[in-house]
Each structure stands twice: as structure tokens, then as C-alpha cells.
């Protein structure tokens, strides 16, 4: 018989846990859900738009009743659990239902805190917590005119904004002298107050409520200083309190919330708790992102996988008041030893502040322009060293050499038909619509449903910004530890480390050791594992063609019509009349419909049928060519300029050095494509400063540049160092390449890798550690011994013939 799981609380945290559990193990439990409210699970953070009339209750339902049925979940709505009997392991509901459990999940959420002053129980006093509260407010807005909202925090301001949208005259009463003091510093809070006042919101600051006035219905508020305020509706939005009553009654250990450990278990290991009712490592959370992280961990444990741990969350906040952009995260009020970076533009009404210590972001407050909030938040959570771009950080991420989409600074201001994802033609309106109708919270979900940012990824930041501005605080920022793919919980770094440390030398060993969840992996992880194994065990690992993307398996670029393109290698971009004749003959012989000179100084032959490839390669290899690897996550090309031999400005032999570099590096598999260039003088005709490894020759030697990118996001290289001889160029190039091969994540180009690990780290390994550099270079050369076997020649001689030959039917 299946074990029984009972969920107490039909809110976002609890249902999210069930969703995660169903994904991991759909048949593990017979599930029963109790909810106090009469509705199925809805999106509580969307209550503000419902109040403001921008959405209906139906719009914010996340899982309709059919979802429960489809997943075999018994749902009892409008029937809260009133008792947990831990001895006989059952729960009792208000209507008298008794349901036994093997495991119990508490997700009782929180209650609005009602200030205990006389009159606080009068009709007309409401909290702002659930649909019933919203309905009460909407009802009141029809009958009355004057509203007072106690509490100038996030929730209070959203309530006030919603009531104003319903035509009420609203006064916000706040105990402190600045609004949202838990999220904003003084400057941002004042800017916020000013713009809310401009919309007609009124404020009573430093006002302590002493009494709610009225006899049968609220008529006003009285304050500690004796003054009074007229009001027909009073909304208490001064905070929330974890709902621990049920847990406490059952004898579970509670402080402010139900105390749980890192696997979300209470002091009774059969009973889990997630969400706002929980206290974890002394902290309680009222925002949705941490709840979802908890849900993942609880589900993992309930599914008996048991390797996930919850270690607390760093939270960020956005205000969901239309037209006001506001973001805050971390420690935004500086304390001793902190430095603050501030950008303030009163005319544009923009304010950005970063609190920094030891070149790491500790907190951020932004007002008016919040597009980079997600980026700052990411830098904060990952503890990134910002010294490399500290001087421009306040201008935003697009200032870091992003010539792609970065200048679209205000997502909120974009029209619905603005195209966000140029690859897949997805507009802002389609993304927003999918987020709202499908109840999406993560970047991955948006990608799966809309394809936005699912191809080249350059619009990822924009899509994240739309996600953040659409769901507000519900946006689940990318977790700091990201699993390699859906087949595993382990990150790229963990996989690489395991392969190295535990000497895992084939794919089965990696999958078994790291407990892969799927038998064969998937199209994401298999190519990654194949690469990691190849990079770390060049002598022992046998390449697995079935784990290669087709381009690398067929050693050509697949085109949209299923034909392939062929690019022979021309070292350093040099060629001879004989080589050109050979290429021309091959093109004629195989009826190549189109030829083109590539950006990397090669010749591309398009439209070749797959079955013709081996024969064509035979002709090319007979003429002395090897594969150009234009199809691979591999070393691609070395681009050169004319150099000293011909050019009147040339300082060194750039073509000769280019040929030497290409002879050293060709054939090497990489985490992503890898391009080199050598320019003969600082005029830089070979564009070496947007290459993964670029050399700019000067009269006294060679400048070595790394981490450039001319693709989706243009990034200019960082100068690594200057050396004096060609031998040094080769050694530094080999060492840098090997370091990238061993340490970058699969499909991570050098540009984001250099930004992630930091230039100073790379310098410490390549420049300061001479012995380490030599060792890296030696390892590179060792790998090359096995990599520089021309795949075209092998296949021309019959290797993997089945790949290219169709089967024949026999009668």
C-alpha cells in the first residue's frame, strides 16, 4: 500500500512542494490536501493586482480543481485542520474529517498581525492576506470613500494603491519616519513617497495608532498624540505572523515559527513544514522565492532522494505598484567598514545605491531604473568580485561591453508587441501572457513555454527582467547552485570535481557515482559529460559519438535543409594556388551549390549531402587538408593580418605566428568554440581583441589578450600580459587554453568564464605561478597528441561508415 501524505494548507508553498514531489516521484504517496480557504491554490502575490482591478480571481488561480483530480489528490477546501494527533498519526478537520498520515506537511502560512488596540475587532477592519480580505476591501470601496491603511511597508502601500484605484481617498499611517524602512534607505523612501503623493496618496508619518474609533462600524482612528483621522475602512498591514497555532497545539517545537532543520523537518521527523509558517536557522520568510527553495528541498526529501539541503535564502524585493520601479536586496543600509556607490539623477528620478565591502556587493537599493536589479542580486548572491568593473557598475550590465540588447533599459516601458527574443520571434506581450496564464515563476519555465531566450540566450536578461516585473517578488531568481540539467542535482563544478578526484573515466561511472536520475542522461548532459571526460582523461577515455551533437558526430555543420557544410582548415588563413584548385575541383565534383569566404578566413562549401561527406573528405585530405572544425565546440581558426613580411606597418611576423599557433591548437575540443587571432601591429586588422585568445604584435614583443567575443554580446578582451618571444606566446596560449578546458563549464565561452572567475584569478595561475603554467602547457600538449588525429581522414578511410550510409530495404 502507498504511504499517505497529508498537506495542511493549500497555499503556494505547500502546493509547490507537491508539484516538485510529483515531478520526482508521481506515485510515492496517496495525497490529501486541506485548505482553510474555499478556493483551490491561487497566486497570493497577485492579490495586489486583483485589488487594483488589473486582474480577476480566476486569473490568479494556479492549480484548478482538475489539476488535483488529474494527480489523484484529494482536496478539502474551506475545511481547516484543527488538530494533529501525533500518537495515532492522523489529522482532524473542523468538519470532523479524520485522515491518517504517514508523513505530514505543514504549510499553514501566516496571519496578518492585527494591532491589539481597542476597536481593532470592529467591522470594517481588515487585514490584507487572502481573497476574502480583497473582496471585503472591494465591497467597502463601493460603499465608502475614506480608507486608512496602517503600515507603510510593501503590503500596506500595495493595498493603498489598490484602494486608490477603486476610487477611495487613502491615507497611509506609518509608525516610522520613512516608508518601507525594511527595504529602502532614506533617499529611496523619500523618492517613493513623493511619487505616491503625486498620485494622490496621503501619509501620516510617525503616527502611532492608539484606538480604532466607531461603534458598529469603523469611523476613524485615534493616535497616541490625541489626533484623529476619519476612515470608513481600516486595513491593517503592519506585518505578518507565522501561523503556528496548530503546530504548537500538537506539541511541535515552535519559536516565532515552526522550527525546522535543513531538510525542512520539524522536531517530529514525520512532520515537515514549509513556507511562511516556518522558522529556519532563526529566520522566517514572507516572500515567495525562499518558499519555493524550501519546497524543492522538502519534496526531494519526501521523494526519498534526500540529498538536497535548504541553507537559507537571500531575498530581494520589488514593489508591485504599476509605474513605480523599485528594487532592494541584502544589506542596503551601510554599516561601518562598508563603502557605498551611488548614482542619483533627480531629473530622471533615478537613484541607485550599492553597498560594497571588500569589492563584493552586500546590498542594493534602486529607484526609477531597476533593470539591473537582477544582475546586482546575482552578483550579491554569488559573492562576485566586482573590482574589474567597479567603476562602471552603476551604469548597468549593458555597459560591460554588451552591444546586444543591453540598451533596452526599461522593460516596463516596452510595448506589448516589442520583440524580445529575436531568434524565436517572441514579443513581450506573449511572454507576459504566458507568465500570467500558465503561472510561470522561473526562467526555465518561461523558456519551455515561449521559447524566449531558449536559443542564443542573448535576451536572457530581458526575459528575466520581464519575469521579475510581471510576478514581482514571486520571481524565482536563478538559484546560486544550478544543476547541470534535469537529470542530476549536481552542478557543473561538482561534476568536474568528481570526475577528477574520483578518477571517473567513463560515462557510466560518472552517472552511477553521481546518482543520475535518468538511465541514459539527456541531450544536455551527455555532450557535457563526454567533453569533461575527454578533457580530463585524454589518454584513457574513448569518445562517445552518440553523446555528440550531430555537427561533431558528422564533422560538418548541419544546415536547415539537413545538408552539411564543409570547411577545410587553412592554417593562419594562408593558402596556395594548388589548395584553391583542389577546393574548386571538389566543389565541382560534388555539385556544391554555394561557396563563401568565412569570417575566420576560411572557405565554406555549403549544401553537401551527408552520404557524400566521406568521399569529399578523401579528396580534400589527398590534397593535404585537414578538418577545419568549423562545426565543433573546438578550436576553430587563427585569423591573421599580413604582418611584417608585406605590411609597411607590421612589427612582427603575424602570419607565421598564426600558423604556429594553429598548428599547436588545432583539433582541440573545448567547452565552447574558441577563436584566435594575431595582428601584426596595434592597428589590429585581425581583430584580435574580440577573440578568445588574441595576440597584438608590438615592436618590443607580443601583447596577449583573453576572453574576447564578437558574437551575441560583443566583449573586448582583457590584457593578460606582454611577452617577448614567440615561444612564450605558444606556452601562454597553451596554458590559458588548458585552464579554460579544465575549469570552464561546458557551453561557457571564455568571455563569461573570465567574468565569472575573474581576471586576477587567471593571472594568478598563468602569470604568477610559473610551474603551474608549465604544467598546464604540458597537459595541453599531452591532450593534443590524441586530439590531432584528423577526423576527416579517419572517416575517409572508413571509420563510422554507418553514420553516413543509409540502410537499404530488402523484400
Amino acid at each position: 500500500m502507498k504511504e499517505r501524505l497529508v498537506l495542511v494548507g493549500n497555499g503556494m508553498a505547500g502546493i509547490r512542494t507537491l508539484e516538485e514531489l510529483l515531478k520526482l516521484d508521481p506515485d510515492a504517496y496517496e495525497i490529501t490536501v486541506f485548505g482553510a480557504e474555499p478556493w483551490p491554490n491561487y497566486n497570493r502575490i497577485m492579490l495586489s493586482p486583483v485589488l487594483a482591478g488589473e486582474k480577476t480571481v480566476d486569473d490568479i488561480i494556479l492549480n484548478d480543481r482538475e489539476w488535483y483530480e488529474r494527480n489523484g489528490i484529494t482536496l478539502h477546501t474551506g475545511d481547516p485542520v484543527v488538530e494533529i494527533d501525533r500518537v495515532s498519526r492522523k489529522v482532524v478537520s473542523r468538519s470532523g474529517l479524520e485522515v491518517p498520515y504517514d508523513r505530514l506537511l505543514l504549510a499553514t502560512g501566516s496571519d496578518p498581525f492585527i494591532i491589539p488596540v481597542p476597536g481593532s475587532d470592529l467591522p470594517g477592519v481588515v487585514g490584507f492576506r487572502d481573497i476574502a480580505d480583497v473582496e471585503a476591501m472591494l465591497e467597502a470601496a463601493k460603499k465608502y470613500r475614506k480608507a486608512a491603511v496602517i503600515g507603510g511597508g510593501l503590503l500596506g502601500l500595495e493595498a493603498a494603491n489598490g484602494l486608490m484605484a477603486n476610487g477611495m481617498d487613502v491615507t497611509v499611517v506609518h509608525l516610522m519616519d520613512i516608508l518601507m524602512e525594511r527595504q529602502l534607505d532614506r533617499t529611496a523612501a523619500q523618492m517613493l513617497k513623493k511619487s505616491l503623493e503625486a498620485r494622490g496618496m496621503k501619509f501620516l508619518m510617525e503616527a502611532q495608532t492608539a484606538e480604532v474609533l466607531g461603534e458598529e462600524q469603523v469611523t476613524g482612528l485615534k493616535f497616541a498624540d490625541g489626533s484623529e483621522l476619519e476612515a470608513d475602512l481600516v486595513v491593517m498591514a503592519v506585518g505578518i505572523r507565522p501561523n503556528v497555532e496548530l503546530a504548537q497545539k500538537a506539541g511541535l517545537y515552535c519559536e516565532r515559527g515552526v522550527v525546522v532543520n535543513d531538510t525542512m523537518q520539524t522536531y517530529d521527523p514525520r512532520i515537515y513544514a514549509v513556507g511562511e509558517c516556518v522558522q529556519h536557522r532563526g529566520r522566517t520568510y514572507g516572500l515567495v522565492a525562499p518558499l519555493f527553495e524550501q519546497a524543492k528541498v522538502a519534496a526531494n526529501h519526501l521523494a526519498r532522494i534526500g540529498i538536497a539541503r535548504y541553507e537559507g535564502s537571500v531575498t530581494s524585493t520589488k514593489l508591485k505598484v504599476t509605474g513605480i520601479d523599485l528594487f532592494s536586496a541584502g544589506e542596503f543600509n551601510e554599516s561601518e567598514g562598508d563603502e557605498t556607490l551611488i548614482l542619483q539623477d533627480p531629473a530622471r528620478n533615478v537613484y541607485k545605491k550599492l553597498v560594497v565591502r571588500d569589492n563584493r556587493i552586500r546590498g542594493a537599493v534602486m529607484y526609477g531604473d531597476t533593470i539591473d536589479g537582477t544582475w546586482y542580486f546575482q552578483l550579491l548572491r554569488e559573492g562576485t568580485d566586482i573590482s574589474g568593473f567597479r567603476s562602471t557598475i552603476l551604469f548597468g550590465q549593458h555597459d560591460l561591453g554588451d552591444a546586444g540588447h543591453g540598451d533596452e533599459t526599461r522593460v516596463a516601458a516596452l510595448s506589448d508587441d516589442a520583440e524580445i527574443c529575436g531568434c524565436n520571434g517572441v514579443t513581450k506581450g506573449q511572454i507576459v501572457d504566458a507568465i500570467q496564464t500558465q503561472g510561470l515563476f522561473t526562467l526555465d519555465e518561461v523558456r519551455a513555454h515561449t521559447k524566449a531566450s531558449a536559443s542564443c540566450g542573448s535576451c536572457t536578461g530581458l526575459v528575466e527582467a520581464i519575469l521579475a516585473s510581471t510576478v514581482g517578488e514571486g520571481y524565482e531568481a536563478q538559484p546560486s547552485k544550478k544543476p547541470l540539467c534535469g537529470c542530476t542535482e549536481h552542478s557543473h563544478d561538482e561534476v568536474i570535481q568528481a570526475i577528477k578526484e574520483h578518477e571517473l573515466k567513463n560515462m557510466r561511472a560518472v552517472m552511477d557515482f553521481l546518482e543520475w536520475k535518468t538511465p541514459d542522461g539527456c541531450a544536455s548532459c551527455r555532450p557535457a559529460l563526454n567533453y569533461y571526460l575527454l578533457a580530463h582523461w585524454p589518454e584513457e577515455y574513448h569518445d562517445d559519438p552518440q553523446s555528440r551533437f550531430i555537427n561533431e558526430r558528422a564533422h560538418g555543420n548541419i544546415q536547415k535543409d539537413g545538408t552539411y557544410s564543409v570547411v577545410p582548415r587553412m592554417f593562419g588563413g594562408l593558402c596556395t594556388p594548388d589548395q584553391l584548385r583542389a577546393i574548386a575541383e571538389v566543389a565541382d565534383k560534388y555539385h556544391v551549390p554555394e561557396m563563401k569566404v568565412t569570417g575566420g578566413q576560411r572557405i565554406d562549401l555549403f549544401g553537401v549531402k551527408k552520404e557524400d561527406l566521406p568521399a569529399m573528405w578523401k579528396d580534400l585530405t589527398d590534397a593535404g587538408f585537414v578538418s577545419g572544425h568549423a562545426y565543433g565546440k573546438a578550436m576553430r581558426t587563427v585569423k591573421t593580418c599580413a604582418g611584417k613580411k608585406w605590411c609597411r606597418f607590421g612589427t612582427q611576423d603575424s602570419t607565421g605566428l598564426g600558423v604556429k599557433l594553429e598548428e599547436l591548437t588545432w583539433g582541440s575540443w573545448m567547452p565552447h568554440k574558441f577563436k584566435l587571432a594575431v595582428s601584426g601591429c596595434p592597428r589590429n586588422c585581425a581583430e584580435a581583441t574580440i577573440k578568445d585568445f588574441g595576440v597584438v604584435c608590438v615592436d618590443s614583443g607580443y601583447e596577449l589578450h583573453i576572453g574576447g567575443n564578437g558574437g551575441i554580446k560583443v566583449r573586448v578582451t582583457d590584457l593578460l600580459c606582454k611577452v617577448e618571444t614567440e615561444e612564450e606566446v605558444l606556452e601562454y596560449c597553451g596554458a590559458f587554453t588548458q585552464m579554460y578546458r579544465e575549469e570552464a563549464h561546458y557551453l561557457e565561452r571564455t568571455a563569461p568564464w573570465v567574468e565569472r572567475v575573474g581576471l586576477s584569478y587567471i593571472k594568478s595561475r598563468i602569470l604568477e605561478d610559473e610551474e603551474g603554467r608549465r604544467a598546464l602547457y604540458e597537459r595541453f600538449k599531452l591532450g593534443q597528441k590524441y586530439a590531432q588525429v584528423d577526423p576527416w581522414k579517419e572517416r575517409a578511410e572508413g571509420k563510422h561508415a554507418h553514420e553516413f550510409r543509409p540502410l537499404k530495404l530488402s523484400a
Partner: protein
């Protein structure tokens, strides 16, 4: 009723790989999974007609090489949230020989 026609020895199709066979009205892709089952689909993704035979096989699915749609080898249907379907052909394996019903 269509006939069973022999197309290959099982060993001619690489495990977690595929082979194609040309028939009158197009190309059929034969896939061999890690549990040595063989499936046959029309060699065209329901999305933009990409050659599924060139995709990566995992479990009982293949990922189209053009835009990463995942297609169920048993039903020919795209996995959610994508929608679409490609033709499925009957295949059987008898004493190491693969037969296709066309």
C-alpha cells in the same frame, strides 16, 4: 495491409543512435535505445521538419538537432510544452534482424 520488410541487423544501428532508410515517399529514421528496442519515425520533426535521425537519443526520446524539440519515439508526439506529432512506423526485431512495416 503493409508488408514487413527487413531493413537491417540490429547491430547495424548503434545503441543510442539511428540509421535512415529511404522509402518511396520520404525518409524513415530507425532508432535503437539503450534497452535495445527499435523505433521508427518519419525523419522529420513536426516543428520545422528537422532530420530527427541526426538527434541525440536518450530513454525513449530523441532531441531534434535543429531546435531541441523532444519527440517521443513510441508515439511520435512532441513532449510538452511543445505540440506536434510525426508519423510512427511499426518495427519488430526477430533474432537480431530488424523489420519495418511499410
Amino acid at each position: 495491409m503493409n508488408d514487413w520488410k527487413e531493413v537491417a541487423n540490429l547491430e547495424e544501428i548503434p545503441r543510442l543512435g539511428s540509421r535512415v532508410v529511404e522509402v518511396e515517399d520520404g525518409t524513415i529514421a530507425l532508432f535503437r535505445t539503450s534497452d535495445d528496442q527499435v523505433f521508427a519515425l518519419r525523419d522529420a520533426c513536426p516543428h520545422k521538419q528537422g532530420p530527427l535521425s541526426q538527434g541525440i537519443v536518450a530513454g525513449h526520446t530523441v532531441t531534434c538537432p535543429l531546435h531541441n524539440w523532444k519527440i517521443d519515439l513510441e508515439s511520435g508526439e512532441a513532449l510538452a510544452p511543445d505540440e506536434g506529432c510525426t508519423n510512427v512506423y511499426s518495427v519488430k526485431v526477430e533474432s537480431g534482424r530488424v523489420y519495418l512495416q511499410i
